[in-house]
């Protein structure tokens, strides 16, 4: 596109902004249908048990109860990954964590439904439970899933690239460190909610989902209904972050109950149930070994991770591979190997959470890198610049790097805080830390194998002058509807306000794989751009023909088409549409996007490749209270290379949100369990998401590297910006008070303990050796 942009790069008002801030947006729980019932789920009180029998007769007999369901109503296994379909709508045979779904009821009101739950008698044979991943690796006598061959190991992955041995041989200095990153959960403001309705043998499910398409497929499978008899609609949604990124028990339970009762059934989770549903950040035990030359250039890296997956597969196999595959950037790593293991434990399943898979290793690696720099007397910024990857390269594990603004991210964020003048020179208790990161813009492969487009869009311009985009993309609050309107508007030339978006409805919108892996702007944006070009071409061809001018001389601006006849003519956009409609019927365009074939030839190569990568660097400034151990983040400068900022305020919001989430995971949020398996803090009072007072002004810096394949050059900006924030804060704590924290989240107690250890001169964790 050579012409100047009309809308891109300028603030565009959110498509659904007014509705959201005025309370008019209809979330799933706001929806009501005549005759609607309330559904509730009975959950396991045991961390691990066999179900001997379930007696629902008393519940069924309770007046007001219209349906009761158990696992036997739909004993078809599912799971977001075809390699780990290990879940059931409701438990079949076994329960695996405190809160596992056992049965469900639909009743005329909530109180009746709850009473009915208490009347269901479940006979459990309680089994020993495992909560520790190291124990899970070796306990053969306790099998959380019978299918695992060795103890409770779900899956192992080991890959090696380049000559790792030679790389370490070449190193002047080698350092090894261990880290632990604890669990975190998404904590979206909107609890999960689903409303199911059966009519004429057809199921419609309104539900808070990030993945209508995958859900559509699994509803069809589990309910044994042809796909054309299932419709999934995603109403306004209040935050996903990965927690609504896969088919979930309430979606099946509401559907089964609606089918059984013949009435619409709505299930909305309580806050506690949101915590139990989880699918959040895996606790990860990690080891790093890195070899460097004297000047800090990396020669080799070896990584090991142990993922505590909780009770089910979820996205875990992908998390497992990401944990290893995403360490080969944003620094040049000439030789690399990793060994990763995911085990089952009797806790809620872990899955994908913002920054999926890369967040924990990024924390460890960036702190590890700072330790190496410190050992060698190199400035942390300098060691990063020295190793920074460049555009137009390939990583050792064959990831193709197109655009790359990493160096600029480092330089600009450092400059913003006067790094050179201030780092290491602030008064005691204050410090600066820097860290980098990178992330995918969508996965190169779909979750289930198929050769079709990952994203599709259909656009129609009608004679009222309106443009409508139909796309399966699921706006989960990140603003993808606005993005679609903007891309269509810019491509055609009309204003974004005149574009209507119909999205995330499997009956009316073409498939988009969903809002995960930061894929929507890149992939749905490209599909939408292609569809919009078709519409534009048809319009301009018709106008050109009608007025005997050449297409190249025509321009659509706002709601008008400029025709360079003499005297020049201005057609309204609607007139142009009519000219095209007269010539060829409805003015439609369609487009799709499939990533190029990117995966390497090795086994496991499918996880990691992406058509583009975002890059980022954060600098944190912190203040540590050495008497209380409290850490306050005073500043967080977040530079992010997003290719191009289509709508800058929206992009800044994403960068800020990701940075805040990272800050929360670093200092406040603990997703832990008491020793019998109950969630320690299943409420927003006790699970400490930072409040506005705990967060400094985030200072986003948008770096535009203009990706050659992204829509108008854009890449992702929703997830990547979480990666650097955790290690930037941890590295800043070192600068402030001289302690390295190898475990996150960081409690004030841990800070005090590390300070005391430092004072006592005790041996530090991790070690380096000169070779």
């Amino acid at each position: 596109m050579s012409r100047e942009f009309q809308w891109i790069g300028k603030p565009t008002v959110r498509y659904d902004g007014v509705a959201r801030v005025t309370g008019q947006a209809q979330y799933t729980d706001d929806l009501r249908l005549p005759g609607m019932l309330v559904g509730k789920i009975l959950r396991s009180p045991h961390a691990h048990a066999r179900i001997r029998s379930i007696d629902t007769s008393k519940a069924e007999a309770l007046p007001g109860v219209k349906a009761v369901a158990t696992g036997q109503d739909a004993p078809v296994a599912y799971g977001i990954l075809p390699v780990s379909e290990d879940e059931y709508a409701l438990a079949v045979g076994k329960v695996r964590f405190v809160g596992d779904e056992v049965a469900a009821v639909a009743a005329v009101d909530e109180a009746t439904a709850l009473r009915a739950l208490s009347l269901i008698v479940v006979d459990y044979e309680v089994l020993p439970a495992i909560f520790d991943p190291y124990e899970a690796m070796v306990r053969e006598d306790v099998k959380i899933h019978e299918e695992t061959r060795v103890a409770n190991i779900e899956r192992k992955a080991s890959l090696s690239f380049g000559d790792v041995e030679a790389g370490f041989g070449e190193a002047d200095y080698i350092r090894e460190d261990s880290f632990f990153k604890g669990a975190a959960t998404h904590a979206p403001i909107e609890p999960h909610s689903s409303l199911a309705h059966f009519q004429d043998g057809k199921l419609t499910l309104w539900t808070a989902t990030q993945v209508p398409h995958y859900l559509h497929r699994y509803l069809s499978k589990v309910l044994e209904l042809p796909q054309d008899r299932v419709r999934v609609i995603k109403p306004a949604l209040g935050g996903g972050f990965g927690g609504k990124g896969e088919p979930l028990p309430l979606e099946f339970a509401a559907s089964i109950l609606a089918r059984k009762s013949g009435r619409p059934v709505k299930i909305t989770y309580t806050r506690e149930e949101v915590f139990l549903t989880h699918r959040g950040r895996h606790p990860m035990h990690m080891k790093f070994k890195t070899g460097v030359k004297k000047d800090g250039r990396i020669t080799a890296l070896h990584f090991e991770s142990l993922l505590d997956g909780g009770s089910y597969g979820s996205y875990g196999v992908v998390t497992l591979y990401y944990s290893g595959q995403l360490l080969t950037g944003p620094y040049v790593i000439p030789a690399y190997s990793f060994d990763a293991v995911r085990v089952h434990t009797n806790k809620p399943p872990c899955g994908a959470q913002r920054g999926h898979g890369g967040v924990q290793p990024r924390y460890g690696f960036e702190v590890h890198l700072d330790r190496i720099a410190t050992d060698l007397g190199i400035d942390p910024l300098e060691i990063r610049l020295k190793n920074a990857m460049e555009s137009g390269t390939r990583t050792v594990n064959e990831l193709r790097i197109t655009s790359c603004g990493f160096r600029e991210c480092l330089e600009r964020s450092a400059r913003k805080v006067s790094w050179e003048e201030r780092r290491g020179k602030l008064p005691k208790g204050r410090g600066l830390g820097i860290a980098g990161g990178f992330y995918i813009c969508g996965a190169g492969l779909p979750i289930y194998f198929n050769p079709l487009h990952h994203s599709n869009a259909r656009i129609e311009a009608d004679r009222s002058g309106r443009v409508t985009v139909f796309c399966g993309a699921s706006d989960i609050g990140q603003g993808s509807d606005t993005m679609l309107a903007l891309v269509a508007a810019e491509t055609i030339g009309v204003s974004p306000e005149s574009v209507k978006v119909v999205s995330a409805d499997t009956d009316t919108t073409p498939v988009d794989l969903g809002s995960y892996s930061s894929r929507v702007t890149f992939m749905a944006g490209n599909a939408c751009h292609a569809a919009a070009l078709e519409v534009r071409n048809r319009l301009l061809a018709a106008v050109a023909e009608e007025h005997g001018v050449s297409v190249e001389d025509l321009e659509i601006r706002g709601q008008a088409v400029e025709v360079p006849t003499s005297p020049p003519k201005i057609l309204s956009f609607a007139e142009a549409v009519m000219l095209a409609e007269v010539r060829g019927g409805p003015v439609c365009g369609s487009g799709g996007y499939t990533p190029p074939i990117l995966a390497g030839k090795y086994r496991g190569a499918g996880v990691g490749p992406s058509p583009a990568y975002s890059f980022g660097a954060h600098v944190a400034e912190v203040e540590v209270d050495t008497e209380t151990g409290e850490v306050r983040v005073l500043r967080l400068v977040a530079a992010h290379d997003l290719g191009r900022a289509l709508n800058p305020p929206a992009a800044e919001g994403q960068v800020e949100g990701a940075a805040v989430m990272g800050l929360g995971e670093t200092l406040y949020e603990r997703n832990e369990f008491v020793k019998t398996g109950q969630h320690e803090s299943p409420s927003l009072l006790e699970y400490k998401v930072p409040t506005a007072l705990d967060v400094p002004d985030i200072e986003p810096i948008l770096v535009e590297s203009l990706d050659p394949e992204g829509p108008f050059g854009a890449k992702e900006c929703g997830e990547g910006s979480l990666h650097p924030s955790i290690p930037a804060i941890v590295n800043a704590i070192y600068d402030a008070v001289g302690i390295w924290l190898h475990e996150a989240p960081i409690s004030p107690e841990a800070v005090l303990k590390a300070l005391a250890a430092k004072k006592a001169g005790s041996r530090e964790q991790g070690a380096g050796s000169r070779t």
Binding site: D29, R43, S44, P45, H46, V98, E110, A111, L114, T268, T270, R271, E272, E627, T628, Y668, V674, T676, Q678, H679, E680, S681, P682, L685, E686, K688, P690, T691, A692, L693, D694, S747, P748, E749, L752
Partner: protein
């Protein structure tokens, strides 16, 4: 969503009507702002037959500050206390404590009486019905043992009110009305005597008895302050808190009162600290030794975020910082 259990709402328009309503219905509970009670009812911790809404009783809304001290009705909202100019200047600890409760929306709704009568808290108790059942309950609710200290015979749930330590440091007396001896009965006691070091019993309130108001002595020469240690800068209950009040006369500390909150099932008067301070010249070494003693009478158990040891350490840090701040600032 979580549902409230069924109950009947009674809305009396005077204190005596409220007391009668409570006397007539043994299963009734009083409610003021409801910010504590309604949450607990959703958790299935209480299932009163009736809720008697006290907010309609004008007698409970009085707030007066004068030469003879201050009187604050039980239904006075925390935000009103926080913003009251005379409380701000004369009874700073109370104003600071009210400002430290939860968050501004909850301060607009929560009352002083509710804060004084706040239920005690514990990880194993403030959970949903499902959660507690799955564990088998605990002494305080539906269970055979204390989950936090299984060997103990009593409940150690924490009393986490913010205003109470401040009120006690300021020498507050509480007036109770009604109860089994008739709606006309009335008694007044020093606030520290209102509480019982037992997570279940909590206080001396008799069935049907209400807190009517609190009275603070005159504030002449009074220096006071409140410090709260919590994880986040808003919303969270205290993990520990310290309130201090004293006068400085002829260069010496007089009538020092120090209360520690959230470290036991009742507020704790730090008598040893008070003794060190009493009559002393304000010097830095003194502050340190006084602060060291502030946890002498507290032995928290692991039923809140933060280990007991850390919370005790924080009590000492908060106490020293508060003493230092008060002495440096001097009288207003």
């Amino acid at each position: 969503m979580m549902v409230l259990p069924d109950f009947q709402l009674v809305r009396p328009s005077s204190l005596s009507e409220a007391l009668s309503a409570l006397a007539e219905n043994p299963g009734a509970m009083p409610v003021a702002g409801g910010t504590d009670l309604l949450v607990s009812m959703k958790h299935g911790l209480f299932s009163p037959t009736h809720l008697v809404d006290l907010k309609g009783a004008p007698e409970l809304h009085h707030l007066g500050v004068g030469e003879e001290g201050a009187t604050i009705g039980a239904c006075v909202r925390l935000s009103r206390i926080k913003d009251h100019p005379l409380i701000r200047t004369r009874y700073r600890a109370l104003s600071q404590a009210a400002e430290a409760v939860a968050s501004p929306p909850l301060q607009n709704r929560g009352t002083l009486g509710g804060n004084v009568c706040l239920d005690t808290r514990c990880y194993y108790y403030n959970q949903s019905d499902f959660w507690r059942r799955s564990l088998g309950g605990c002494l305080k609710k539906d269970g055979p043992i204390c989950r936090a200290a299984p060997a103990a015979k009593r409940c150690f749930a924490n009393f986490s009110s913010d205003t109470v330590p401040a009120l006690i440091a300021l020498g507050a007396r509480v007036r109770l009305v009604g109860g089994p001896n008739g709606v006309k009965s009335e008694r007044t006691l020093p606030l520290e005597e209102f509480f019982v070091e037992d997570g279940i019993k909590r206080n001396v309130l008799l069935p049907g008895e209400l807190v009517a108001d609190l009275h603070l002595p005159p504030a002449e020469n009074l220096l006071s302050g409140y410090r709260k240690y919590r994880q986040r800068a808003s919303i969270d209950y205290p993990l520990v808190s310290v309130a201090v009040a004293f006068q400085v006369r002829e260069g010496r500390i007089r009538e020092a009162r120090v209360a520690v909150g959230a470290m036991a099932s009742s507020p704790v008067l730090a008598l040893e600290t008070m003794e060190v301070l009493e009559g002393a010249l304000p010097a830095p070494e003194l502050l340190a030794s006084a602060a060291e003693l502030v946890t002498k009478r507290t032995k928290p158990v692991g039923n809140q975020a933060g280990s007991p040891g850390h919370r005790r350490l924080m009590a000492r840090v908060m106490c020293r910082r508060l003493l230092k701040e008060l002495l440096e600032a001097g009288p207003l």
